[in-house]
Symmetry: C2
Subunit: 337 residues, 2 copies
Amino acid sequence: MSTRATISDVAKQSGVSISTVSRVLNGTAVVDEETAERVRNAIEALSYTPHAAARTLASRRTNTIGLLLLDIGGEFYTPMLRGIEAVASEAGFDLLIHSTITAASGKVTRRALGEHNTDGLLVFTGALDVAELTRLNEIGFPVVLLHESAPDSLDIPVITIENQSGAQKVVDHLIDAHGCKRIVYLRGPADNEDSAQREKGYRQSLRKHNLPYDPCLVAQGGYEPNQAHATVAQMLSDGLEFDAIFTGDDDNAVGVIQALREAGRRIPEDVAVAGFDDSLFARILTPPLTTVRAPIEQVGRESVRQLIRLIRGEEVETSLVLPTELVIRQSCGCNRQ
Amino acid sequence: MSTRATISDVAKQSGVSISTVSRVLNGTAVVDEETAERVRNAIEALSYTPHAAARTLASRRTNTIGLLLLDIGGEFYTPMLRGIEAVASEAGFDLLIHSTITAASGKVTRRALGEHNTDGLLVFTGALDVAELTRLNEIGFPVVLLHESAPDSLDIPVITIENQSGAQKVVDHLIDAHGCKRIVYLRGPADNEDSAQREKGYRQSLRKHNLPYDPCLVAQGGYEPNQAHATVAQMLSDGLEFDAIFTGDDDNAVGVIQALREAGRRIPEDVAVAGFDDSLFARILTPPLTTVRAPIEQVGRESVRQLIRLIRGEEVETSLVLPTELVIRQSCGCNRQ
DNA sequence: CTATACTATGAAAGCGCTTTCTGAAAACGC
DNA sequence: GCGTTTTCAGAAAGCGCTTTCATAGTATAG
């Protein structure tokens, strides 16, 4: 507080005009090397840092990108955040984060992130309503979506992962390697695009292997251990028969494994289990979880790269789908000790 | 982009001066209700949002708090972030996040977060060097430290948790309930204050029970499964005898359990294990981990509260220590099925 | 040696707000 | 009914920068 050095302090100290200081700061024009050196010394001596808001106001650039999340606390976000932060920081952008879930309670619908405080927005599945998305699109504001495609009417790039083929690979494996015939699929939250894609992959695999599609075998897991636990417990008490569960994501797998164990079903002898994501805890589950590796950190990195291109007015892919990879551990029946 | 509405557009549209619009916006003075209504309508009609930088520049308030982390990807941060975001957002502050670990590679030492773009800073253990901390303290800039106290010379509030008593409780439990006599303690990274405190608690408990302190039983775990794994494997191959491991944190526990299992030691029959933090995965380990619950989200919440008080110039506790709680599961030998 | 083109710099106009100062009009007091 | 307060609103001065425009000085060409 007190007396921050301003650009004119630096100018005075080095005996030049503020224009010249600005030029040295930004490299926007050639400055005599000797003069530049004097300016740099003054900056150092005054430990001067340009005032971000003043810069923004004058240059009409915030040098900040915004990240709009549903729930910042989700485990899923951690690697994504790491990727986003790394690329943003490397490119000299600040990162403003807002979680819309906490905002829901707030009375004032202050637009937390937008044209007024960022150069562009990263929007995670469901974190922004279509109306606002449309508004941003109309004023040509740079936005990149993560894990969910935009309404067709809007031209907004999307970064996502190979959900369908990933799911197909893991279900293929359950069938081909372990002879599973009745495979449960646990959906994510309603409207979740990842989940819908994975379900497609699941059905595709069944079709490919001439296995019947039984709607009873598909149910809600909610990407959430408790719900998955309840669902599986219900299935078991209903006497539903199955020899494998593709849990939709790894979080579900935690609840699934617990429910199976409580019912005395052995994994993988009685029921094979496979997840999706390859979360940090997938390998520490017992048995270690066979799953599909989702390149989440990479999604974070790419999304920022695309957003920055957009901000710079460069060409951008409308959609980027990052590859997933089958990770075979033991919950499917492989590698038994 | 294109043509954002500005305050003067709103003023024109509602037939008042920009001063009045500003007053309606901020409630800084009484405005005739009828006039105010007209202004509000204009704001709505133009879907006007005040330009943050202009506001900042004029009012000398950024309405933003900065969070300086070492590694944003750490699992540990997730609940903390949730707490921080929730309180900040509720209080109308934006949250600017920067991870210093990624910045290390950058050539330019741009001060990512500071007086120039935030009203105050939350600094996590080790994320800022003492020089910068001192500078901020000297200019009276609001800073709150998380999980590490400031150098004595600086008067900076700290939010931390009851590490020592938490550690003591869990070691007490290992001794009292399970008769453990030779308990290993795995340290966190060097200089980690949490770890040092927990070690104190460990030693205190030994002393209280008249158990000898054997330096061989204390080693590096690094809060990191691989290192913990290596350390324990080494201890085992050295033929070191012990009947329990207090793993320092839950991350370590993952490596510890694996190492013990590989050596054919049963948990908890041969070796009892206990962690610290109560991470999300503590309950899904096999066996479920006995640990100490650290109120990490609470730390996040409190830190923001304190920081906001500081920003407002209110009185602040110099140090806040949040309580920890023993969580007994099965890795210590309790609740065996 | 003059005309032309650079080069390096400064002066000054904003960017979109907040806030102080000032004043007109309405309300009040006696 | 006149002076005094109160209420409401506008004018204008910045906040600390970037950027355009102008210009002095210097180099280059013919």
